[in-house]
């Protein structure tokens, strides 16, 4: 008994320290807990009827989402799943797609890297304010890049000259994912100069995510795929989950995570439930609030820590969902979206392509869909 207390006290203090270190800004709307009468969806989603504020608005939004077609006739939106109060209440697929189909994350995978890092922070294997310490920077003790921390990387404020660019074939991201550096993506991401003091400038960078992914691989202890399965995908019951690897064995979290729409919703539920899953603390206390709090760089408005926040965007950031929706989101190219909305205890997953639709239309339609659901008690 004494031994258990001896072990429990340092662990509790460590968790308190992590929680205090993370919660340096007030959270927005509190994260709603899982209802006792609704099981976590580890072995399958509890289903129910949607409790709606506006039935017509839901059908209008879904109709619009499933109407944009590419020139070859395929629908842009391939899957929409809505979770309300922990229950699956809407699930629609375009023809040719179903609950078993895996969908590509593009940058929504960056939020999965957030979860991996969070797990390592929980276990004391990574500290938020420790140097990122890429091996390419270790030869010179005075290398200014050694001031970059894990927190800077999560918040995309490293100051490194590895921003994605416009996404075209000449962009940094294209070179990283498909060019000469794609075989060892972290090397390509690290081998750049510092152009801003760390923490002072926000710049979206798949390369930075790959630096974090390599840190995860290095600290996971053993096969990174086993770590991912043991710590995240298996506890959540994400049976479809696959993280592609580069040739060096680094998970391509910056772009190439695959999962079914239901499994993307499981990941969303983990965040909406403050990192708790069936009584188990998957993400450390305070991690989700830290992740959904915009970084303080002057040119950042809506980026947290590898999660987007529905807040006024910075000058180089896309507008978010309609103002007043208190969402935080996993976002990826071609309209991949997992939006967690605490005030409505809601998760909206939209997956597919954007051959015929643009971000503005997509976001308007998703906003309409969210607003069809009522606020939970006390929310304003």
């Amino acid at each position: 008994m004494r031994k258990r207390i001896d072990l429990a006290l340092p662990l509790a203090l460590a968790l308190l320290a992590v929680s205090t270190a993370l919660a340096d800004a007030p959270p927005r709307f509190p994260l709603p807990p899982q209802r006792l009468d609704v099981p976590y969806p580890t072995r399958g989603w509890a289903r129910g009827d949607a409790q709606l504020a506006d039935h017509v608005a839901l059908e209008v939004a879904l109709g619009k989402l499933f109407s944009a077609r590419a020139a070859n006739g395929t629908l842009d939106t391939r899957a929409v799943v809505v979770i309300q109060g922990g229950r699956l209440v809407v699930e629609r697929y375009a023809p040719g797609f179903d609950a078993g189909t895996r969908f590509r994350s593009w940058s929504a995978g960056k939020s999965v890297v957030n979860a991996w890092v969070g797990i390592l922070v929980r276990d004391g294997r990574v500290a938020l304010d420790e140097p990122l310490d890429a091996r390419e920077w270790r030869s010179r003790p005075d290398d200014p890049r050694r001031a970059i921390t894990v927190r800077h990387a999560l918040q995309m404020t490293t100051g490194l000259d590895n921003a994605d660019g416009d996404g075209g074939p000449s962009s940094f991201a294209a070179e990283l994912l498909f060019g000469n550096t794609s075989g060892d993506s972290a090397v390509g991401a690290a081998d750049v100069s510092l152009v801003h003091e760390p923490g002072t400038h926000w710049a979206y960078s798949t390369g930075t995510t790959q630096l974090l992914a390599r840190l995860v691989k290095e600290r996971a202890g053993g096969d990174v795929r086993e770590f991912i399965a043991r710590e995240l995908s298996e506890p959540l019951g994400m049976q479809s989950f696959v993280a592609e690897l580069d040739r060096a064995g680094t998970p391509f979290g910056g772009a190439f995570i695959w999962a079914s729409a239901q499994d993307w919703a499981r990941l969303g539920l983990l965040y909406l439930r403050n990192g708790l899953w069936e009584g188990r603390q998957i993400l450390p206390p305070g991690w989700v609030d830290f992740s959904r709090t915009p970084a303080t760089a002057p040119n950042n408005g809506s980026y947290g820590a590898h999660l987007w926040v529905n807040a006024p965007p910075g000058p180089e950031q896309y507008p978010g969902l309609r103002a007043g929706i208190d969402s935080f989101e996993m976002n990826g190219n071609a309209g991949q979206l997992v939006a967690m909305v605490p005030s409505r205890d809601l998760i909206v997953v939209r997956l597919g392509e954007q051959h015929a639709s643009d971000w503005a239309a997509l976001r308007a339609n998703v906003s309409g869909l969210i607003e069809a659901f009522p606020l939970i008690g006390g929310a304003r």
Binding site: A70, A71, N72, T74, G96, G100, T101, R102, F103, R104, G168, P169, S170, A174, E175, L177, F178, G179, N180, S182, G183, R225, V242, A243, E244, L245, D246, R247, F252, F256, W258, E353, H355
Partner: protein, 107 residues
């Protein structure tokens, strides 16, 4: 004298084309071929869709129709190429999705 000037200009143009433009063109077409190989391979292997559907889902505003590709036998991967410029192959491997192979010289 005029012949020498014309010769110099032709030489200069050739140097510029083969010394600057060609490597850049090779690089860009290489990235395009890699994109097609990787995305179509992953779409088939992990997305569970057929080759034609995956190929049709490539972005339609980036000239991917100029990049040729073919699936490798038995779902082993996808090979993509731009004739005379670049070729890349993505191989499907259990547990790690599709991996772009190191670039090899055109053959």
């Amino acid at each position: 004298m005029t012949k020498w000037i014309i010769g110099f200009v032709v030489w200069l143009v050739l140097v510029l084309v083969f010394g600057i433009a060609m490597p850049r063109l090779n690089e860009i077409t290489g990235i395009g071929a890699a994109y097609v190989a990787k995305e179509v391979c992953s779409c088939m292997t992990l997305g569970g869709r057929d080759y034609a559907a995956c190929r049709a889902d490539l972005p339609q505003d980036m000239n991917f129709d100029r990049i040729q590709s073919e699936p490798l036998p038995n779902g082993a991967g996808v090979h993509a190429w731009v004739p005379y410029f670049a070729e890349r192959t993505a191989l499907a491997e259990p547990g790690r999705g599709c991996t772009l192979q190191a670039e090899s010289p055109m053959h």
